[in-house]
Symmetry: none
Subunit: 197 residues, 4 copies
């Protein structure tokens, strides 16, 4: 078996096991048994159990970052609202298509150790910065209402995260990611209050 395949196998098994039992409950033995590799191979492929988690996490955050495109404000570009909607839907689709990795991102990778916490912080900070920038663009173009864009970005990211958490814990009758996205954007875009004028 070539090294790349071996690495993928271990990662695949770890992904499955971490998602099922949780990072701390999962043992290296569980993983190597599932992957069909020896302990020696495991530790030659990854430095330790933590590194496998780190890689799984990275693979999801990279995928997400690739789906977060900056809003294109040039003249011929698609409507900005559609672009934002597209962003949200792509992200939700990526997450719902990889629920085990999402569970790892939202549940298993939290509070492992200071290094990991920093890693997560950086990802969320980067995402917030991107959202904030998009909102500023929107303000410049007269689409986004004057408001505190930093705090607004918390609402956008937080709403998405919370939605995914519910998605993870809900055993049945899940809303499709399109409906979820549309409704989330509706609330965020138009607000909760009845417009008084």
């Amino acid at each position: 078996m070539n090294p790349a395949l071996r690495k993928r196998r271990i990662a695949y098994s770890a992904r499955k096991i971490f998602s099922q039992k949780g990072y701390h409950t999962a043992t290296v033995d569980d993983i190597i048994r599932d992957a069909g590799v020896s302990r020696g191979t495991f530790y030659k492929t990854y430095r330790n159990k933590r590194e496998v988690l780190g890689e799984l996490l990275d693979s999801l955050t990279r995928a997400l970052e690739m789906n977060m495109t900056r809003v294109d404000v040039s003249s011929g570009a698609p409507p900005i609202v559609d672009q934002m909607m597209g962003n949200v839907e792509r992200i939700l689709t990526t997450l719902t298509n990889n629920l085990d990795l999402t569970r790892i991102l939202l549940r298993q990778a939290v509070g492992i150790d200071p290094d990991f916490d920093r890693k997560l912080d950086e990802f969320y900070e980067g995402t917030l910065a991107l959202i904030e920038l998009s909102l500023k663009h929107g303000q410049d173009m007269g689409i986004i209402r004057p408001c505190n864009v930093e705090i607004a970005s918390y609402a956008v990211l937080g709403a998405l995260r919370q939605a995914m958490e519910v998605f993870l814990s809900t055993k049945s009758k899940r809303t499709s990611s399109e409906v979820l996205g549309k409704n989330l954007l509706d609330v965020l875009a138009n607000g909760l209050f009845v417009r008084t004028i």
Copy 2:
């Protein structure tokens, strides 16, 4: 030392240590050394390390639940918007006044094991249900716009959680919880988009 005092001491030390080093990095040794009790006493007071975390968590979630009052829609009650604002501000104040417990809630208590995950889920589900109910009331009263209240509740809770996470990771120049609350509510209430009419 009487049992109640002992319990408080252990909880106090655990709160400090968990917040500083994280749940997994903190050892029972760290806690009992700080609390000045023996290992045996620790395990007679609490079933295990997890239970200490559970209790700390409960103390925060109970405090939060006590601050989440249902919106009073009777005739003589204060304006509903003010009540909602009050809810948010009380919650933010409770959290910012207990940053170590907040860190434990948002960081340390995540992904410990399936039991714990369920516990957290229940807290968040309860909170979501309360928010959803309030929003429904608001719709009945013509204050809240027709929208998917379930998904709207994700936005409200998620925005609060994300704001607190940033609060935790930000080393300096933190926004006061009043300003934070006002701006969050502004965004959530009035939406991001410029009103087209």
Copy 3:
């Protein structure tokens, strides 16, 4: 169980197991199973497997050193020849009464690592120095023939070691340590050659 007893139990089991299977073939598992202690206890009592061997070795070399008394040359002392004979017989008795430790000294403790080699070297060097000193005394008193006492000490120690090695490997019909001692001393004292005058 008190620490001293625990240590003795582990040492006792290790002594048995090392002697039976050899140091390298013996596993820590073998030892703790036989001693009825846990792995944790083993590693709290001894730094590692090597240290147990070291202690066993020390206990034998200390016992031997205590039996190697300097020859007393004062007027009222017993005949010097008797003293030397006493030394040899005490050593042989100690060794034959502790054949498992002797096996550890002569077989298991050899070539473990540089630290251990040095330890052994020091023991043998000390023993050689003591023998050499005794021989010099004997020369001063006119009992020992003029000869290279350093090299003579090799013969004395080497003869004893070789005798013990044969003792270890011989499965049956062992010479008693008294007869062995007498004959060894006879050969060393009187030489192999027929006296030409």
Copy 4:
């Protein structure tokens, strides 16, 4: 590279490495790196690490056995004492000319496992038998004093071994093997005691 050359290269490297680091500390990796062969080749050439040691050991013991000639008692033969002296000197010369192999014989090959111990035992037993036989011849010829020849052989072999051990551990100012041999034989032949008649 032809198999014979490969075998010699591996043996040569192993001899060097074993002598430097000791059998247990030396890894198969050390050897194959030094020999410039692959792991697979190593294990096709030798059954295992132990077998390399065994072969090195054999090469020394065979060389020694070839140098231990029986004493020739026919009429025209050289003086028997000279023959014995020649034996000892040849052995000492062989050993001092191959100090690395001597170190392996005396230090590294001890206590490897029961099989190996038996091998060593057989070599020493053979040597002892040879010495014993020579001494008996000497007795028959009236050169060797009546004494327990078995035990006398322990003294002869043991003295030689001890002398070599000191030789190995002494870092500087080594006695030449001729002087060593002469003095050893003097002590063994003439004994330690002043002759009382």
